[in-house]
């Protein structure tokens, strides 16, 4: 796997940035008024991330490593604006996401962020092309243009003969490639991928990683993984442990490799 140069890591300004971010979740739901009347107490909190700071520069691939429950996915969700931090700030191109309404954060994702999920999360009732073209519906792109752009991207990820197939008719690797095409269809500045090869066999995983390297040429990519070959494509790897950045392990890891 080719290792990209880490020279872009100093390129200012960062696309996305987390500053002193802490994220806590409650175990279970908050008691309502009736619940409180019957003495139900507020459930305890669990800290998923604690005081994490990270800057993502343009044109760099950042890998997030760490064991299960270390907070990789939570950090990705915060960077994508899917969730808001309990403490600290997440900024995207200089805008504090905490100051934006849900509607504006959704719009920001549409225009600037592409997301690839571990479990693909394709809409099973739409064809591969329909899934890829879906974000363009929101942008009011004409039908012919939607079809053209979606087909072009599917060709780019090697699925030109699977355009009209529904997700149920595609293999895991093909579904993940459709998900990559969907993430790129709006030409985002940041692509976020959560365990993009987690559901794939080694060979298919390598094919998907090649796609990632190809698409990362002109945009920032943050990918979370346990998998060493996946992390190998990153310019730098940030290692998380128990919701915190493991500074020592991160510093030990040379560019493009993981400890």
């Amino acid at each position: 796997m080719a290792v990209r140069s880490g020279s872009q890591r100093d390129s200012p300004p960062p696309i996305a940035r987390a500053d002193g971010v802490t994220k806590r979740y409650r175990r279970g739901s908050e008691p309502g008024r009736v619940g409180r009347l019957f003495g139900r107490s507020t459930p305890p909190e669990v800290t998923a991330l604690e005081d994490v700071s990270l800057a993502i520069g343009s044109n760099e691939i950042v890998g997030l490593a760490g064991p299960s429950g270390s907070g990789k996915s939570t950090l990705l969700h915060l960077l994508a604006g899917l969730e808001l931090p309990s403490e600290g700030t997440v900024t995207f191109q200089g805008t504090d996401l905490g100051t934006l309404s849900t509607r504006k954060r959704t719009r920001l994702r549409l225009e600037h962020v592409g997301i690839v999920f571990q479990h693909f999360h394709l809409l099973d009732s739409l064809s591969a092309r329909g899934n890829v073209a879906l974000p363009l519906v929101e942008l009011g792109v004409s039908k012919s243009e939607r079809r053209h752009r979606a087909t072009e991207l599917l060709e780019r990820v090697g699925l030109e003969d699977r355009v009209t197939h529904r997700p149920g008719e595609l293999s895991g690797g093909e579904q993940q490639r459709v998900a990559i095409a969907r993430a790129l269809v709006t030409d985002p500045t940041l692509v976020i991928a959560d365990e993009p090869t987690g559901e794939l066999d080694t060979e298919t995983g390598l094919t998907v990683l090649e796609q990632f390297e190809r698409v990362a040429d002109d945009r920032a990519v943050v990918l979370a993984s346990h998998d060493q070959p996946t992390l190998d494509i990153a310019d730098r790897v940030v290692r998380l442990r128990d919701g915190r950045i493991d500074e020592e392990a991160t510093a030990r890891a040379p560019s493009g490799t993981e400890t």
């Binding site: 719009r107 999360h121 394709l122």
Partner: protein, 402 residues
């Protein structure tokens, strides 16, 4: 956002909603979606069958045929309809008046009409039959769906004292009395009647009342209406709308109804059928809405991961609500189409069962427009379900897809 972009967006939303509905109905969520479709279809089927029976109850009781354009009926403050009156005021000197009307320019045919339910006996059976007395002037081929061309013209018994004893039977009367052409009948105790024909328009036979048509003066003799030469109404055939003004002057206290007014009156005066149709409508809307809200609500909750995915990739709440609204309306419309087919089949089945067990004629009315009615009501069910389901969508969407 320009109008073109806006249109492209909403066209896309509608297309995605339709594609999702079709794919989920036929492939990805067949069982759940089909359950919703089935719920609406059952509600629409019941609606159409009950409405058909209600309309069947209305039909076949009026002196309404192709050659008749106006009805002159006495003004009445009572509750009786201008159809087959039983307790309403009657006109007098009707033969003389019929001649006057016939002399009016533009009038093609006219007949006074007297209706009575009388006991009629054939060799085989005895039944109560609606007996209609008319003056056949050759201008009208059918009265109350009975072919009257076999009756002598100009009421010979009134003019010459010559008793004809002619009676034309509707098909239902013929079947009920088991009588055919040439058979002798006893009407109201008078044994001197012979069947001239058993015929009529079967297309108007829904809810058909067994009817016998005789000469007016002969029916007046049977019912004691000769003293004032009485009849319930006049039917007039004409191609000239200007005739209406002349008809309104014939009797000082009368009303002239056109064909459309008579149809409306017929429907509205039939309280039972209107009540049945209205009840079926309200029940279908209520049951259908509750069913759709429940099944589609569960469907939306099951679909929350896909809704969250839409949010994650940047689809706004408005777009998601649009897609869900299209899915709901498309699902109920499919239910409406299935229900309409089921309803028309149900009416046919009802008539078949009724004719095998209860009646000699169909009891439920059927018309192709029922199909459209079923689909429209199904879409109304969808519209009634929308607020709750869109609220559910708002509650379950967003967050991180799990």
């Amino acid at each position: 956002m320009s109008l073109r972009t806006l249109l492209a967006r909403w066209y896309g939303v509608a297309a995605v909603g339709m594609r999702r509905t079709l794919a989920r109905t036929t492939h990805t969520a067949r069982q759940r979606v089909r359950f919703s479709v089935l719920g609406v279809a059952v509600a629409i089927t019941l609606l159409l069958v009950v409405t058909g029976i209600g309309m069947g109850l209305t039909g076949g009781t009026t002196v309404q045929d192709d050659g008749i354009d106006y009805w002159i009926v006495p003004e009445s403050g009572g509750s009786s309809s201008p159809l087959v009156s039983t307790d309403a005021p009657q006109f007098g000197s009707v033969h003389e008046t019929a001649e006057t009307i016939r002399a009016t320019e533009g009038v093609d045919s006219v007949s006074p009409v007297l209706s009575q339910v009388l006991r009629v006996s054939s060799a085989e059976s005895t039944e109560y039959v609606l007996v209609v007395g008319i003056v056949n002037d050759g201008g009208v081929d059918q009265i109350s769906g009975v072919n009257v061309t076999g009756l002598s013209h100009h009421d010979p018994y009134y003019n010459d004292g010559e008793w004809t004893g002619e009676v034309a039977l509707s098909r239902s009367a013929g079947a009920t009395l088991d009588a055919t052409e040439g058979d002798q009948l006893t009407i109201g105790g008078n044994t001197s009647f012979a069947v001239t024909s058993v015929d009529g328009d079967t297309s108007s036979a829904v809810g058909d009342v067994p009817t016998a048509v005789v000469q007016l003066s002969e029916l007046q003799t049977l019912t004691g209406a000769t003293a004032h030469d009485s009849a319930d109404q006049f039917v007039v055939g004409t191609n000239d709308p200007a005739v209406r003004a002349d008809l309104e002057d014939v009797y000082p206290s009368s009303t002239v109804n056109s064909r459309s007014e008579m149809t409306a009156s017929q429907t509205m005066d039939s309280d039972l059928s209107v009540a049945l149709a209205l009840t079926a409508f309200v029940v279908a809307i209520s049951i259908g809405t509750l069913f759709v809200v429940t099944t589609m609500g569960l469907e939306l909750v099951a679909d929350r991961t896909q809704l969250a995915t839409m949010s994650a990739i940047g689809l706004s709440s408005r777009t998601q609500l649009g897609i869900i609204a299209v899915q709901i309306l498309a699902t109920t419309a499919i239910g409406g189409i299935v229900g309409a087919i089921g309803g028309l089949a149900g009416i046919r089945l009802t008539n078949e069962l009724a004719m095998r067990t209860l009646t000699s004629e169909p009891i439920a009315f059927s018309h192709p427009i029922f199909g459209l009615y079923g689909v429209v009501v199904a879409v109304l069910i969808g519209i009634c379900s929308l607020p709750v389901l869109l609220l559910v969508t708002r509650r379950v969407t967003g967050g991180v897809p799990q």
